[in-house]
C-alpha cells in the first residue's frame, strides 16, 4: 500500500461486547487498518465502554471473551485509544475498571479527533 499516502482512520464503537456483532466487527477493522500501517484512532462511546470492562465472564452465555484481544493492540501499534468520559461516568465506571490503559476523552476531544480524520467508521 506504499503507493498511497498514509491516512488517519477513526473507528468508533458504540455497542456492548456481547449479544450483537458490532464490537468484534470494530476490533477486526481496527486491526486490519493497523496492519496496513495507517494512523488509527479507536474510540469507545456509549455502550461500547463496556467492551473494556474488567472481569468479563462471557463463557456463561457461550460467548468468546472479547476483552482479552484488546491487550494485543499495542503489538499492532494502536496506541490512540479513547474512551468517552460521559459514557464511563454514566455507568459508574472509571479508567481503573478497564482492561487496558486508555485516554479518557471529552465530547470535544472526540469531535477534534473526528475532525482530523480522513475516514470515520461508526459501528
Amino acid at each position: 500500500m506504499s503507493e498511497h499516502a498514509r491516512k488517519t482512520l477513526t473507528f468508533i464503537t458504540r455497542k456492548a461486547p456481547y449479544g450483537q456483532h458490532g464490537a468484534k466487527a470494530s476490533l477486526d477493522m481496527v486491526l486490519s487498518a493497523a496492519v496496513f500501517d495507517q494512523q488509527v484512532h479507536y474510540i469507545f462511546m456509549s455502550e461500547g465502554v463496556l467492551q473494556l470492562r474488567r472481569g468479563q465472564q462471557p463463557g456463561a452465555i457461550d460467548a468468546k471473551d472479547l476483552s482479552a484481544a484488546f491487550s494485543a493492540l499495542p503489538l499492532y501499534d494502536v496506541d490512540s485509544i479513547h474512551v468517552e468520559a460521559e459514557a464511563l461516568q454514566a455507568r459508574g465506571m472509571s479508567a481503573q475498571d478497564l482492561v487496558i490503559p486508555v485516554k479518557v476523552a471529552s465530547a470535544a476531544d472526540i469531535a477534534t479527533l473526528i475532525h482530523h480524520s480522513d475516514a470515520v467508521f461508526n459501528l
Binding site: M1, S32, V35, F36, L123
Partner: protein, 130 residues
C-alpha cells in the same frame, strides 16, 4: 468523485441495504466512480443468491448482482462474515464440504484488507450501518 460503499445490513432486516443500493445507483447515474462495494457483517446477505423474496417485492440481491455486473464494479463480501452466515463461493463450499455455493456471481470473497485498501484510494467511504 471516487466512492467506496460499505454495506452492513441485510436486505430483509432494515432499509439500510436498500439505501446503499439506491445511493450506489444514483452515484453512478451522476457520473461518479464506485471503486468498491464492501459487504460486511449482516451485509453479506445481500450477496446470497439463494434468497427468494416474494414475487411482488423488489429483489435486492438480484438488483445488486445486475448493477455490479453492468458497471463492472469490484464487489467484496467479507470472507469471515460470509462463511459464518452461510454465504459460500464454490471454493469454500468444496473446502468445508457444504452442499452448494450461493455467492452472487458479481461478488468475490476476501478480507478486511480490501476495505482498508479501498479507504486509502477513495475520496469518500460511505457506510450504510446495520
Amino acid at each position: 468523485m471516487k466512492f467506496t460503499i460499505v454495506v452492513q445490513a441485510a436486505p430483509a432486516a432494515s432499509q439500510s441495504a436498500w439505501s446503499a443500493y439506491q445511493f450506489t445507483r444514483s452515484a453512478l447515474a451522476a457520473g461518479h466512480e464506485i471503486y468498491r462495494v464492501f459487504f460486511y457483517g449482516d451485509g453479506v446477505h445481500n450477496t446470497n443468491s439463494l434468497s427468494v423474496p416474494p414475487q411482488d417485492e423488489f429483489d435486492l440481491v438480484s438488483a445488486w448482482t445486475a448493477l455490479l455486473g453492468e458497471h463492472g464494479i469490484d464487489a467484496i463480501s467479507c470472507v469471515s462474515s460470509a462463511l459464518k452466515r452461510g454465504v459460500l463461493d464454490a471454493g469454500e463450499a468444496d473446502r468445508y464440504e457444504r452442499g452448494c455455493a450461493n455467492l452472487s456471481p458479481a461478488v468475490t470473497l476476501s478480507g478486511l484488507g480490501q476495505l482498508v485498501d479501498a479507504t486509502l484510494v477513495s475520496d469518500r467511504v460511505i457506510t450504510f450501518g446495520a
